[in-house]
Symmetry: C2
Subunit: 213 residues, 2 copies
């Protein structure tokens, strides 16, 4: 990709086309009091760049492509597999207390729960805090399976999904973290195997890298 | 800004200049088996875009500007004030229990603590979870001031800072959220007034908007 700041004249041409489209190069030249030959390089650049579209025998149209299009095209090309990190996993029978200890040791916001290596649930700091302030129960006796959010109610992503779509799920469903899963067919059933996670931290870290150019 | 995908020939020219810089247009034309006149529009575009730089009587240089430069320039221009949200605040004397209730009611990850409307501390879900599983103490009796992270140990940002710098602080200091402060001079002392917050959620939401173009 090449990026060229518009010259004043190119900006004038864009404004004219936007207001009067379709418009021929003769008409643009007339409005600017210039010859067609003078305009030719500018029109060539604006057409190549996709800002204007030239229809033979009709004239120029404004397409509305902007700076941000380039950014969003780039972002769509980055996949979950490019930024995912290792999930922290416990088995379904683990006590809430031990899961909280794991949460602190690994310093993560969400613990994923598996059964026979398949993803069955997720527990967040918020879930743990809720049971901890309940206070009445012995956290070493309650299995994490009792308080977790259970499949199929877990929002997940896959290696191939764009990080933009993953970020959109995080915002829409108000979660901190998505498990990255691979769906395995076993005896005709579709079972999710967890292969990573993508959290707001991953997105924020990617955002910082992005801005380092 | 205009954005033009490189043609194959432009890419060839870039590669030649990168390897053999400085190099004159005659020499480039020779390597590509083309006339100088044929190359002229491509060299004009590559120079205007800043990918190549032309030094009179010396030749063309490669500047290394890329797609990502444009993105990072854009990101640097977005300020904390553009994406900040309302902070959730309690007074220093509030009990830990009431602060946790506020955390759940407002559904936030961090509570900020003020004294006489100045920022004095911050408490995260992690801090609350730590005291809650301690279990021995009555959370309705402990003031939040006892467990909070206290100024000057709180990493903060300001309205004028770029969101990139704010995101960098979040990642470097491993926090979920930064208070946005205004420094007020009072009796010769600099006092922080809290005017917002920027969290990983704000960054992730901005990231989603960015990709919508």
């Amino acid at each position: 990709m090449i990026h060229i700041p518009f010259t004043d004249r190119q900006q004038q041409i864009i404004d004219i086309v936007r207001i009067s489209q379709p418009i021929t190069s003769e008409q643009i030249a007339e409005k600017l009091n210039l010859t067609r030959a003078t305009l030719r390089p500018d029109l060539a650049i604006l057409t190549m760049s996709g800002v204007l579209e030239a229809k033979p025998k009709v004239g120029y149209y404004y397409t509305g492509r902007s700076n941000l299009n380039v950014i969003s095209e780039y972002l769509e090309s980055v996949k979950v597999s490019d930024i995912k990190s290792m999930p922290v996993i416990v088995e379904e029978g683990t006590s809430v207390y031990d899961a909280i200890v794991t949460l602190f040791l690994e310093d993560v916001g969400t613990i994923f729960v598996t059964n026979n290596s398949y993803l069955v649930g997720a527990v967040s700091r918020k879930d743990f805090l809720k049971v901890a302030i309940g206070g009445s129960s012995d956290l070493t006796k309650i299995p994490v399976g009792v308080i977790m959010t259970r499949m199929p109610n877990i929002i997940y992503t896959t290696d191939e999904e764009s990080i933009v779509d993953a970020a959109r799920k995080i915002i829409m469903h108000e979660v901190d973290s998505l498990p990255v899963v691979e769906i395995i067919k076993e005896n005709g059933r579709e079972m999710p195997r967890i292969v990573g996670k993508v959290s707001k931290t991953n997105i924020t870290r990617f955002f910082v890298q992005l801005s380092n150019g």
